[in-house]
Amino acid sequence: MVKTEVLVKLAAPDPWSFTVLDALTRKFGFEDVIEVQRTKSWELTFDLASSDAAIALTRELLRTTTLLANPNRDVWTVRCGPGDLPESFWCSDTGEACAFVVRVTDSEDIVGSSAAQIMRSRLGMDSVRAVRFSTVWGLRISRAAADPRDLAARIAVAKTWRSGLLANPHFQDATVFGVDDYLARKGVP
């Protein structure tokens, strides 16, 4: 089994990120949050022997269909193994701030499983074993914050009223990474 990950971002200002930043700073009182960026992550699991073949198939999928991304709207990158994409993919500039990545996945991933079904039945991609869809939030937090990582972790999960936002733990899993940690993952987890 080989996994690839496609990270997709809008090629235009993302209204969702703006709403999240506005809510975090004005309503939750998390004024140390400087920037929010939203990225979609598609993790594809192939029954293939080589990473090259998996990457080639993923790129073919991106070239011939708009299932994962549309070139008229999105920018994306494909990776398999430790990533080499710039931090700026999630945040415009880390500068005087810490960047974190919060990956949110529905525990019953209906978007991912629908996509997998289309790939197999409609596109005849028999080697696709699974598709997992996640929303990956990039957070830029001021170093002035008492504990930036703790703040990112709080923002990640809504446990009590106004404590967090990005995931509801009753149907979503949230994982917090430093940007470097996310990219350094061996292969795609």
């Binding site: 709403t19 529905d106 209906i110 978007v111 009223w161 009753h170």
Partner: protein, 275 residues
């Protein structure tokens, strides 16, 4: 004096006007309040409705951003006062995301309204479904005037309507405490089985859940879209449809009450109940 209901207009909701008409049709008065009015300017309402729609376009998660708005503090105080608060569809999502429902542990978010499952695709689903009134209807304001086992055809229209929880045993508690006010069912009232009678895969087929005190209700179906008989499809399998067809070409009959009016009537009766 007629009970006075405040309808909270979160940015992006879109059912506030017909909800006001529905409340008025059963003899209550309704005022639409912009979400950001100063708390001091909010009159002393007898109850509140959080209407359907797409507050903040469901960004992040349906209801999640609106649940953090300041007006929630007013609603939390009203809930603690025992005033009825009805969240319809997006309003239900706001109540869940703020922890007001089921409200078992102060301030904790114990439930989610997760994306629909079971229809073989993701996204929005709108249809007419049947819901059945659960046991001890008098314990929540929403079924106060209804009878256990009453079957109501009502429309649903949502992407995220699946009541669920990671808390083990939570639904046993809700069931034991009769907090599941309405459940999806087949036309004859039997268990819904699979999609489409079960439209979203909700735990215990829950369509509406109330808090422990019964004065805050999160309801996914839209009673304001079945408040008048003319809103009920003529061709669904229900005594309500038969009633509509019997009244064919009679406007008086079609302007009569539909199944959803029972929810608003219940709210009024609850407010006017003798202590």
């Amino acid at each position: 004096m007629n009970p006075r209901i405040g309808i909270i207009q979160f940015p992006g909701v879109n059912c506030e006007y017909e909800t006001a008409r529905a409340l008025e049709s059963v003899g209550m008065s309704a005022s639409i309040l912009r979400w950001n009015v100063a708390p001091a300017m909010i009159p002393d309402f007898d109850g509140f409705v959080l209407p359907g729609g797409f507050s903040y376009e469901d960004r992040v998660r349906a209801g999640a951003v609106a649940a953090s708005d300041d007006v929630m503090e007013t609603l939390m105080a009203a809930a603690a006062d025992g005033k009825p608060i009805l969240g319809i569809c997006n309003g239900a999502q706001v109540l869940i995301e703020s922890g007001l429902v089921p409200g078992l542990t102060g301030g904790r978010i114990d439930l989610a309204l997760a994306p629909n499952k079971g229809m073989g695709r993701d996204g929005y689903y709108s249809n007419w479904v049947y819901v059945k009134v659960g046991p001890d209807p008098g314990r929540s304001f929403a079924a106060y005037g209804l009878k256990e086992g009453d079957i109501l055809p009502v429309p649903i229209a949502h992407s995220q309507g699946r009541f669920t929880s990671a808390e083990s045993g939570l639904f046993d508690t809700l069931e034991a405490e009769s907090q599941i006010v309405l459940k999806y069912c087949k036309a004859d009232g039997s268990a819904p089985g699979a999609f489409p009678d079960d439209p979203n895969g909700s735990e215990r087929s829950a369509a509406a859940i109330c808090n422990a005190s019964g004065n805050v209700v999160a309801m996914m179906p839209h009673p304001e879209r079945s408040t008048w008989l003319r809103q009920v499809p003529a061709d669904i399998d229900s005594v309500w449809a038969a009633r509509r067809n019997a009244g064919l070409a009679s406007r008086a009959a079609l302007e009569g009450e539909g199944p959803g009016a029972g929810i608003f009537r219940s709210m009024r009766a609850y407010i006017e109940r003798k202590p």
